[in-house]
Assembly symmetry: C2
Homo-oligomer: 177 residues x 2
């Protein structure tokens, strides 16, 4: 019967733009060890569809893999910000689109093995272009629209490969939307 | 038109059990900045089904969220190890099961924004119990079996929430298996 471990100490080692790194000393019965924990802010992903049911995706350079990805609209939930507010803000900033038709389709843990944060997923329907992009200082984002079937095809070919996009497809396949 | 950024420097800041942390100084046109990169080993996930088509899942305490999760069989690909060999090894170690029927269903990037690694997904069919668990020194793992429909139900209820499990469901829904 799996139980939660007891935390003996929890020490902040290093803080960066993306994460704060902690060492946790924990024990369970006769087991005892030190474990890496990254504290990150929560994230949102938006599966945004326009009035023609085309998925609005973003193409950008990603520093982790030093390569270009195609992904859903996504971003960080700011401190004290509501998830839905963050989702609407990111859709507007990254694509200039807005929607009055939002549905929360699920929440995943980013990586429970060593990260403490979650990603909330929204579907936005009938998105309309209402402004230009409003990007962060170090962001460059192209927009592309694909049918869901075309997006599936790019997953099968490996061109779309972000784990959080795939997790969103998983949630979408289980939702009634 | 999105282009790859140029790397001016790439500096190792800190090495831990789970990741090696680097600062990359990069530029693109007039944009220039420092970016966090975590180098991690690649991972594998196994969607393991027994001869009754029940999904063999693992329940364990996870240090990132300080809570208990239900997940697919998963683990790290050791240096120089083949992905499929790692998948077979993890299935045997975590559950004592073995299979002669393996299919690679896809690969995702863990988080291209700041991580450099990938996770390969396998479906293993007709798994048989051939040994006891053989866990790492600091692992405690319970095994449970669910139909795929029961697993879907636990995703909908939020009881299963690991992003990499959900990504696997996304891949599974797009495969012909």
């Amino acid at each position: 019967m799996i139980r939660k471990w007891k935390t003996n100490s929890y020490t902040n080692i290093l803080n960066t733009f993306v994460f704060n790194y902690f060492k946790a000393e924990r024990e369970s019965g006769e087991l005892k060890g030190q474990f890496d924990v990254l504290e990150c802010r929560n994230w949102i992903n938006v599966f945004a569809f326009d009035s023609s049911n085309q998925l609005i995706l973003v193409k950008q350079y990603r520093h982790g893999i030093d390569d270009i990805t195609i992904e859903a609209v996504a971003g960080v939930v700011e401190k004290g910000e509501d998830h839905l507010v963050a989702a609407k803000r990111e859709l507007l900033e990254e694509t200039g689109h807005s929607s009055d038709n939002w549905t929360h389709i699920g929440r995943v843990s980013a990586n429970p093995a060593f990260m403490n944060n979650y990603c909330d997923y929204y579907v936005a329907r009938d998105c309309l272009k209402v402004s230009e992009q409003n990007l962060d200082a170090l962001e460059e984002i192209d927009i592309l629209t694909l049918s869901l079937e075309e997006a599936h095809s790019k997953v099968r070919s490996g061109e779309i490969h972000h784990s959080l996009f795939l997790a969103g497809l998983g949630l979408l396949s289980l939702s009634s939307l």
